[in-house]
């Protein structure tokens, strides 16, 4: 929660981190009806040019929302969010969602947000605007 702290440009917000694999992806497939071979089967992942099956872009999208919600709390609001999908979240990878403040207008805050792989490589970079409580 941010109510009592001053938000400054350049500030990094607390990270949201998950070690990912079939337990995460199968649960997401079950709620989003997203049963696609590349997300379930290593052979299908390899056929698509990756070392294993890989997670859904939509789940990266959810992790970016989780990151923002964790920071602003349930009294805050996500106004806008965007992202691009740059690289695959392969099996066993620890995905870290991060955000850095780029502008502050009263209680409205712009951020660069992104998910990254274990080696720090970007998976899904984007931009967000939130309203703090």
């Amino acid at each position: 929660m941010t109510q009592t702290t001053t938000v400054e440009v350049g500030q990094e917000i607390p990270t949201f981190r998950r070690t990912t694999g079939l337990h995460n992806w199968n649960r997401y497939a079950a709620v989003n009806d997203e049963f696609v071979d590349i997300h379930m089967d290593d052979d299908a992942g390899r056929a698509a040019g990756y070392p294993t099956a890989f997670g859904m872009g939509n789940l990266q999208w959810s992790y970016l929302h989780d990151l923002l919600r964790q920071w602003i709390g349930e009294d805050g609001r996500i106004l806008r969010l965007s992202c691009q999908f740059r690289a695959a979240n392969t099996k066993g990878m620890t995905v870290t969602a991060r955000g850095r403040v780029t502008a502050v207008r009263g209680r409205e805050v712009d951020l660069d947000v992104w998910t990254e792989a274990d080696d720090g490589g970007p998976l899904a970079p984007g931009k967000a605007t939130v309203v703090l409580p």
Binding site: R18, V31, D33, E74, D75, R80, S82
Partner: protein
């Protein structure tokens, strides 16, 4: 190489409605399961699954995580009805609009952007209207790249805007 993949017919289709869907009423268990999946293995915030607690918050009850999809497991109605052409066909969008497509071989998800309005709640019936927003193109490493932006507007049963989102498809 073609100078452009955007035909006059495609250009004339910009702004047209591609389709619309109406959801079944959102249920508490849909929201709870969504939250469990996107926070797994940790317990999601109580706002998404504990009605007694949610009643005491400024939301006055359970709300859905912003990115919740109420259309995942069938919709009450889908227009136009799904045809025989698989969505994997890169010309699927133009086929739906009844215009000849560019016939490009490969397609990628170039990204998405959303602007949120009111939250979704149990009992909500969401209507999603999808429109063709733009075609642009740019010379890239892999040749002439066609960028197609589609816009989705979701409203609830009270006519309030839930979200406006855009998706950019890249074809080459």
């Amino acid at each position: 190489m073609a100078d452009t993949n955007i035909s006059a017919q495609m250009r004339a289709a910009v702004g047209r409605e591609i389709g619309r869907r109406v959801s079944y009423p959102v249920s508490e268990s849909d929201i709870r399961r969504w939250a469990l999946a996107v926070y797994y293995p940790e317990t999601p915030p109580r706002l998404y699954w504990d009605a007694g607690y949610a009643d005491t918050t400024r939301h006055g009850g359970i709300v859905a995580p912003e990115e919740f999809n109420p259309f995942a497991w069938l919709a009450r109605s889908v227009e136009p009805a799904r045809g025989v052409d698989p969505a994997q066909n890169p010309d699927h969008l133009e086929m739906t609009l009844g215009v000849p497509g560019p016939g490009l071989k490969f397609q990628l998800n170039g990204g998405m952007a959303v602007e949120y309005g009111v939250p979704m709640r149990p009992g909500d019936v969401i209507t999603a209207v999808n429109r063709l927003a733009s075609y642009t193109e740019k010379e890239g490493r892999l040749g002439l790249m066609l960028f197609t932006v589609t816009e989705d507007t979701w409203t609830n049963q009270r006519g309030e805007t839930v979200k406006r989102s855009t998706m950019t498809g890249i074809r080459y």
